[in-house]
């Protein structure tokens, strides 16, 4: 375990070096947050919806704040696959999957916290109707945090599946373009899942993408009651395990037939 913990903390350290990137990300996400909220306010002004606007605004802010958790990939690993430097990682006495799972989790954790904390502080200070709302209860906040943790575990497992596919295609761009589209659509980043028609919601909230941020946000805003928390967290855990098992299988299979690029 020590090795994986060390890989995790190493990646934390490294991610902290990219502070300028984080600042750029914050500005970009704040801009997107404001534009999206202006859009939904206009929509509500012309045609009020059943879901309160405050809940949509909070949804948008939290989703934007944790954008880096959804869409970020280990560029080091991609480079290593492309150039063949992965050879070094293959001669370490660790599970390659576990090693990269730890690294990717650390990257997503720091990447999103570096941006989320200042962004949410900013979003609290905004005027009424624009600001991020408080959690419905202390219990809801605790459940949302647990959900966020599981969301991180789930998105990391998902990323490892993507990487497993990339190992075969060598270049990541084609696969990534497709998967990113699915990600922004079904994670609620493009349009809050709470605004989809009810019949759609019944299906898309079961997909793995909804387990990342949508599930914890619904607990936070009280859109799902605290009594539903065990079921929600259970579904998150289930998807995490399923994706981790799939990823592990793909990686194992890949290593048996790997070739090292670049001589």
């Amino acid at each position: 375990m020590r090795a994986y913990a060390a890989a995790f903390s190493m990646r934390l350290k490294m991610e902290l070096q990219y502070r300028a990137a984080a600042l750029g990300g914050i500005l970009c996400q704040i801009f997107f947050g404001l534009v999206l909220i202006a859009l939904y306010r206009a929509l509500y002004a012309s045609r009020p919806q059943t879901l309160p606007i405050g809940s949509v605004v909070t949804y948008v802010w939290i989703n934007q704040a944790f954008f880096r958790m959804l869409l970020s990939w280990d560029t080091d690993l991609l480079d290593k696959l492309r150039t063949g430097a992965i050879a070094y990682d293959l001669c370490r006495p660790v599970s390659l999957y576990g090693y990269y799972y730890a690294r990717i989790a650390a990257m997503k954790l720091v990447g999103s916290l570096l941006r989320a904390v200042p962004m949410l502080l900013f979003a609290i200070l905004l005027p009424e109707g624009w600001r991020v709302g408080p959690p419905v209860s202390a219990g809801a906040l605790a459940a949302a945090f647990a959900g966020l943790g599981l969301g991180l575990a789930c998105v990391t497992a998902m990323e490892c599946v993507t990487m497993g596919i990339t190992m075969r295609t060598i270049d990541h761009r084609g696969v990534m373009a497709l998967l990113n589209l699915l990600m922004v659509t079904f994670s609620g980043n493009l349009l809050p899942l709470t605004l989809f028609p009810d019949s759609w919601q019944r299906v898309i909230t079961l997909l793995p993408y909804a387990q990342l941020l949508d599930a914890p946000i619904r607990l936070y805003t009280g859109e799902r009651p605290l009594s539903a928390a065990p079921g929600i967290l259970g579904l998150q855990a289930l998807w995490t395990l399923a994706l981790a098992a799939l990823g592990l299988w793909i990686w194992r299979h890949n290593l048996r037939r790997i070739t090292i690029q670049g001589g």
Binding site: A6, K13, I258, I260
Partner: protein, 321 residues
Amino acid sequence: MSYITVTDLGKTFTVRKKREKGGPGREKTLVRALSQVSFQVEKGELVGCIGPNGAGKSTTVKILSGILVPDEGSATVDGRVPWKERREHVRRIGVVFGQRTQLWWDVPIIDSFRLLKEIYLVPGPAFEKRLSELTEALELGGLLRTPLRLMSLGQRMRAELCGSLLHSPELLFLDEPTIGLDAPSKLALRDFLRRENREKGTTILLTTHDMEDIAALCPRVMVLGHGRKLYDGALTGLLSRYDTLRIAHVRYADGARPPALPPDCALSREGDTWQILYHPAQTPTAGLLTLLQSAGAIQELTLQGQNVDHLIAAMYEEMAL
């Protein structure tokens, strides 16, 4: 049983090439990287492995370090099959790929070293001792807090080597470790490797294109070409077969020119120095000297053998590589 036993090892890669005349799809070609390679290495040996580009050297190293799975044949290192008992195997070995990096690009190298310490579960005191030993030998003391990206190639190479040796491996694979190094760095590196081998009993398998590496380090050399083993034995034994030519440089005090020489000798001129290529088997050196002296008073005379690189080139040519 030997420490490393390789029997009839074979590996084929599929290479997809673009078709020559446009057209859709790609041509698949099979490249036989290794075929029926067998050898043994005993514990504590220092073996060099040479061969032209694409001869199968790196493939051999990758198979023996558990990265690649061969298609045919078998290999064991210390009784283990590298690609089957990968984790147990790699715990005991160190690998340096001269053209790649294992250290983290953006962080100080000491952080990378500490990560390696955790990966190989090196106990704290043993790590500190080994680190100070290695930083001294590789002259890395002042660089530990420097991120890798700010280092020169030579510094980086020494850092890579340090990283590969932190867990005191009993077997070391070096794939072109002196690539791109300047002369002092090369000498220091060779010196260091020799000491590791002698004092710690580390078994070393080295691939290189630098014949000086081989001449300085390896009592035993293997030649690979087209995926086959072509020679396995002492370097001197290998060279003596091709080392048939000597070069004499002669300068006369009064600007005289050499007399007529036997037909196997080739004469050329560089300024006031004459260069004679000859085959000692046909024209013994003593006979040639007598002839040269007959033309006038010799002011300066040097005799030299061929450059090792020339010999290797001649050998590759004869082996049709």
